[in-house]
Every structure is written in C-alpha cells, then in structure tokens.
Assembly symmetry: D2
Homo-oligomer: 152 residues x 4
C-alpha cells in the first residue's frame, strides 16, 4: 500500500517515526469488537485510539479533568495512514508528538504500535481547536494545557 | 475553524461541494451513543458513516456481497475535516464522489450532510486498495466494482 | 438455541411477540462495523439499537430534547435474547412496548426485526430509572414522559 | 436503584460477589468515547467489556485463537445490572466466574470493578452456545475450552 500512500496529499504525515522517537507512549488494549469481518481492527477504531490517547494524556499531564475546563478541545480535522494490520487481542502503544502548536489550536502526530513493534502500524494526525465550553467560539489554548503540550 | 483547516495538508480535500453536486446520497441514521460528552457526534463516528456509505453503496451498485469476492477493499488511508456539528437524532446523507480511480485503488470524496442541509457538516477522503482476499497482496479492482465506480 | 434460552432466568422475557403486536416501530439502519469476525451483527450492537430506539422515540413522542430535562433516564438493567442473526446491510425495525410502568422507573420490552421479518431476531428488556439531572437522586418520571409512555 | 433491581427477573444474578471472590480478573482500559452525554460510560459499552473479557481470557487460557476452531461460541443471551457509574479514564477489572457449565453451552457471571473498587459497578450474565463454525448447528464445547472453563 506504500505506493498509494505516497501519492496522497496526506503523505507528508507519513515520515515513519519509530517507537523510540516518541516521548510519550500511551497503552491501549484492543477489544473483541474492534476486529471486523476481515479479521483485523476496523479503520474506524484507530480514531477511537487517537481520541483516547490524546485526551487521556492531557488529563494525566495536566492533572485535571479537561472536560470541566472553560475551554475545550474540539476536533477540527483528523487523518490516518494504515500501514500494517492490528488485531485483538493486543496492547497497543500510541506515541504522541506535536506537529504544530498554535495559539488556539494544536496538531498532534500519533504513531500506533503493535505490542512489541518498533515500526508503526498506523500514523495519524489529529487537530484540536480550543473553543469556549459554552459559546463554542474559538479561544486561546488554556495555560495548563499549553504547558503540558510544551513538554511533548 | 476554517482558518485552521486552510493551513493543513489535507486542506485541498475541502473544496466544499454542496449536496446537489453528489450523484449518490446514502441515508445514515445517527445513534444515541454517537454523541459524546460535549453533546455532539464524536469525531470517530464520522468514519463509521464513511465505511457504511462506501461499502453499502458498493453492495447496492454491484448487486453482490463484496465481502465474498476474491478481491476485497482494504482501507489504506482516511481523513476528515469537521465543519459543523452533527447530533442524535438525525438522518444524515452521505454524498459519494470519486476523486481518483486507479488500477488497484480508488479515492472517494465523501460529503456528510445534516438532514436538510445543503452545505456539508464534514468532508472526508477514503482510500480503498484492493487485495486478494486470501493472500492480501494488491490486485486490480474487480470488474464489477470498477463498472460501478465509473458511474459515480 | 431455544433450549438454552428456556432454561435461563430471563426466559420469561422471551414470549415472542410478532412484529404487528408492537404499536411503535423505529427504523434503525445497520452499519458496516456492526458485523464482527463471524459475519453477523455483534451482540454489543443490539444494545446500541435499544438505546437509540428508546431515546429516539421519547424525543419524538414528547417533542422535547430529553437530555435537557430536569430528570433524566439512567439505565439500571438491560438484557437481550438473541434468536436469529442480523447483518449489514439492513434496515431493522425496533418494536417498543411497556412491560411495567412504575412511579420512578419504566421497563421496556424491545423486539428487533430484520427488514421484512415478522418474527423477532432478538428480544430485549430495558430498564430506565429517572434521576435528578444534577444530584442523580431518584425522582418521579417527568409528566411529559409519563404521558408518552401511557400511549405505548 | 436497588429497589428496582431487586424486583426484576434478573435479580438472582445480582448477589454481589466482591472482587476477591473472582479467580480471574481481566484488565480493560476505558476509552474517551465510552462516556456518553451524561458523563459516564454508556450502558452499551459494558457489553463490549464482557465480550472482550470472556474471549480474551479464552484465548489466553487455551493458548489458541478461538476464532479458528471448528466450533465457535455464539452469544445466545446477555444481561447486565448497572450498580455504580464508570468513567473514562479508568482501568477496569472484569472478574470471570462460571454460573453453569453445560454440554453445549456455558453461562458466565461477570463482575466489573472500577480501578480500586472491591464492590462491583456492574454484574453481568453472558451465555455462549457452541456451534459448528461452518454449519452453525449446535455442537459440544471443544475439549480445550471445556478444560479451561473447569479451572474458573
């Protein structure tokens, strides 16, 4: 599938960073129902892993329940290149890195690794835009979250 | 969120084709659990809609159970730009178009529309690569599927 | 599987009411990812159908967004007997009936029917207990919801 | 919610076995999307935990990929009583016990425990009936699986 991937607009996402290049790795256990009729994890579930890795890390790194803050991260864009199949059962590692840190938004790069693998099974891109929790208008990234992001 | 989206690599996907520019629209009903803690459909579910729209249409257009063919479509890459929130309950329409039809792969553009909306709530990109159902080695797109794709 | 089911505690749920015995039928379209490795809808998804049918009907019958009311329905117990396989693609019908209407709780019986089937593919039981939206202490079923339930 | 639960047919399931009464505990990490609009894990996901705990343990205890055996376990019935809310993030423990081991079927009792809790957040019942992988006709529980079940 490499050939196809190279020719796509999202190809630039796919410089394949190995597992040890990520400062943060989050463990995620696959579930029976993640596998689809073709016997491997369905593409949709990879995005559930991204969501879980990013938000779980933010809670852990800031020590707060980010869902209760005045500003919340809304997902503006995501993408994923699927390089190798994943399956149940497995304990994946999701590597988190920052591709771009703006004033009101942050772009994560996420590498998904099978249990013992050093090369990614998938590489994703995940864009959070911060908005006021009530009005849902764009606001600056909260200070505590920015501080955590700067350590990635 | 436009500002952020424009600056991303996937931005070129996002020329916003209105609802009536799609030759095929597939109805998808949202589910209670699609909404997350922030009260709108979670980003992950949009990819479930894409999967469902593409594969459901392929089955309908070819009149065959594509899961039983000698060659199956494996997802090599997906992306989505989220433009407007969606929610439960709603009956969405997923517009399907071909961005690129290759020998062994096809790139779909998918526009997701809230029930009465003419402008998309999200625009996705979905890449299927065809592989032999047993060996999982790349093969040409099956004739019946190619014929269906040429009508999109 | 009848033999097994008969011997279970939940067996009494399973008097098989045919499709035309339900006053309310809610359409639910299956999704590609509902099917698991064995080629049929995974047991977990049936509960997503129940959730969607009950809450979708409550919103429709009361004309209000039940998530915004002072009292919300919390699920205290559910069960399902699986009688016939379901699959993607299909538009199911979920029949809703009341098994018991209490002061603070309601027990639904739900029959799931494949597109043209008159006999259920599954029979479920779904218990909602009403609680104050803030304190989460049990309260009486809201008047508008009770009125809707009395028509079932 | 105790009052309601006591009066239900499935009440007999709910003798609340504490955590240390289970010989087998399986760790399951919750995901961001498990939480619904009311801020806790949606009832549907509990069944995904059951599926994952039972099948994951069967694979581990038999040392085989149960999906490739001549006989497969089909879910005939499930139920769950919800006693305490669960949330993301958490690493749950699913306790597994046998309620009844038949010739062709097995009934599991599953206790779900929040990370440090000794009392269950939910108690489930999960019935597997074994069928021939091809014909889907009932057959005896495979020898390797029966041997594993007898250790529970």
């Amino acid at each position: 599938m490499t050939e196809v991937s190279k020719s796509t607009a999202a190809g630039s996402v796919g410089i394949e960073h190995p597992r040890d290049s990520y400062r943060v790795l989050r463990a995620i256990s696959t579930r029976w129902g993640d596998n689809d009729v073709y016997g491997h994890v369905n593409n949709v579930q990879y995005y559930a892993y991204f969501d879980t890795a990013v938000n779980g890390w933010l809670m852990s790194a800031t020590g707060s329940d980010i869902r209760q803050l005045d500003a919340i991260g809304i997902v503006a864009e995501t993408s994923c290149r699927f390089l190798r199949p994943l399956s149940f059962p497995d304990i994946l590692q999701a590597g988190l890195a920052i591709e771009k840190l703006g004033t009101r938004s942050v772009v994560y790069r996420i590498g998904l690794f099978g249990n013992e693998d050093t090369q990614p099974a998938a590489v994703g891109r995940f864009v959070h835009v911060y908005v006021d929790a009530v009005s849902r208008r764009p606001v600056e990234i909260p200070v505590d979250i920015r501080r955590a992001l700067q350590t990635l």
